[in-house]
């Protein structure tokens, strides 16, 4: 079968599987999850296989790759890691958008971040992999968890009908899934010709970069020699650059203005966040005014007219 057609069929199957998994305001029957998992995994496998067949054939026809682009640094082992991390990332992503509890969505998103970092490591981008783990998993996700805990009403353990309606029902699942997977099919059919190394991208080799821009690396001082004599580890190869060294060179030599702009954006976001946090909310002022005369007004914050749920007690445990 035409690999392109298989890609389209895989998109359709993936769309059906995702549609089956969408939350609908009540507990899903057991067969639904199983069916969706089978269809989804099948679609993923078919997509991978047909993509492989398609691109493998074209690369084969071309008689190997026109060199260039330097050494990508991918090994055969990276292929195996790719399948593991990519599968984990995609399945976790599905759980993020189908889970009815926001806390669990955030935890599944941590899995997506970890798997993405694994993908980056297999692409020989170690620095960015660890930066992603630290910034996303360490900083952004913790902020999300804080906000979820601050803003969610507590809901009973595992009774889906007791959760807030906006968590357990999704809007327009059919059209969203259709739109998304049409976009995916379009991306898969248009975007990817068999990629070969970019012949224009033959940059300077590590040795050239070190000679022209990091000349001091090659100078061996007496101190270095003394340290080397004392240490048992072999000397660092002075003619090879690590990933973070290359990244630093490219960042600070190629994009100095962009770094400044990024700093400005962060500063603006910081000021904006402070302004938003300090904004006075008329409804809250009215609520507080209504609450103060009553007994126990300091701890109980009644909900406003728009709040559909029972009043929550500040300081109580929330899930």
């Amino acid at each position: 079968m035409d690999p392109q057609l298989v890609l389209y069929l895989a998109s359709v199957c993936g769309a059906i599987a995702l549609w089956l998994l969408m939350p609908r305001g009540r507990a899903l029957p057991w067969w639904r999850g199983g069916l969706a998992a089978m269809i989804g995994v099948g679609a993923l496998g078919a997509g991978w296989l047909s993509a492989g067949v398609r691109w493998w054939g074209e690369v084969d026809l071309a008689g190997g790759l026109a060199g260039g682009g330097g050494d990508a640094g991918l090994s055969v082992l990276a292929v195996a890691y790719y399948y593991v991390f990519s599968g984990v990332a995609i399945l976790s992503a599905v759980r993020v958008i189908t889970h009815t509890k926001p806390v669990y969505s955030a935890l599944w998103f941590v899995m997506v971040v970890v798997a993405t970092s694994g993908l980056l490591v297999s692409l020989a981008a170690e620095f960015m992999a660890f930066a992603m783990l630290i910034i996303y998993g360490g900083a952004i996700l913790v902020t999300y968890m804080f906000v979820i805990m601050l803003a969610s009403q507590s809901s009973p353990e595992d009774v889906i009908e007791e959760q807030p309606e906006y968590d357990r029902a999704s809007t327009e699942p059919v059209w969203a899934v259709v739109a998304g997977f049409v976009l995916l099919a379009a991306l898969l059919s248009v975007g990817f010709d068999a990629p070969t190394g970019n012949p224009d991208a033959v940059g300077m080799s590590d040795a050239e970069i070190i000679e022209t821009r990091l000349a001091e690396r090659l100078v061996v001082t007496e101190e270095d020699e003394a340290r080397q004599a004392l240490s048992s580890t072999p000397a660092v190869d002075a003619t090879a650059l690590s990933n973070s060294e290359r990244l630093g060179l490219d960042l600070f030599e190629g994009h100095p203005l962009a770094i400044e702009l990024a700093g400005v954006i962060l500063l603006v976001a910081l000021i904006g966040a402070v302004v938003i946090a300090k904004t006075k909310v008329p409804e809250e002022i009215a609520r507080n005014a209504a609450a103060t005369p009553g007994a126990g007004g300091a701890t109980v914050r009644p909900t406003g007219e728009a709040g559909p749920d029972s009043p929550e007690v500040l300081g109580s445990t929330r899930s």
Binding site: W48, A72, L119, L123, V147, A176, N198, I276, A306
Partner: protein
């Protein structure tokens, strides 16, 4: 042979990036909890990051990886602002439902 496998997987990395991006988009449309909606935008960033890293490896330079740093910068700024806004909206209506603000139609 090694090169063939590596060029093959670059396309696969693009596929993973596209799938992550599309899943994030679907989640942004279907979910009604504002926090989860912004979580889904972060997932779209993840797809972009995978694509950028794969493109960097394909071209044999690190410009794509450099760009990930700026994507991370924007993601951090976006998370700070979006979560501040979510908290503000929650203080007004005591609900995280995006549908509570459905009168805000253009």
């Amino acid at each position: 042979m090694d090169q063939m496998i590596s060029s093959l997987t670059f396309s696969h990395y693009f596929l993973t990036g596209a799938v992550l991006f599309v899943l994030g988009m679907i989640g942004f449309i279907t979910r009604r909890n504002m926090i989860v909606m912004f979580l889904c935008t972060e997932m779209m960033f993840q797809g972009v990051v995978v694509t950028l890293a794969a493109a960097a490896a394909m071209h044999g330079n690190v410009t794509g990886q450099t760009f990930i740093i700026f994507v991370l910068t924007i993601a951090a700024a976006e998370a700070a602002l979006a979560l501040g806004l979510v908290i503000l909206l929650f203080r007004r209506r005591q609900t995280l439902d995006a549908g509570a603000w459905s009168e805000l139609r253009g």
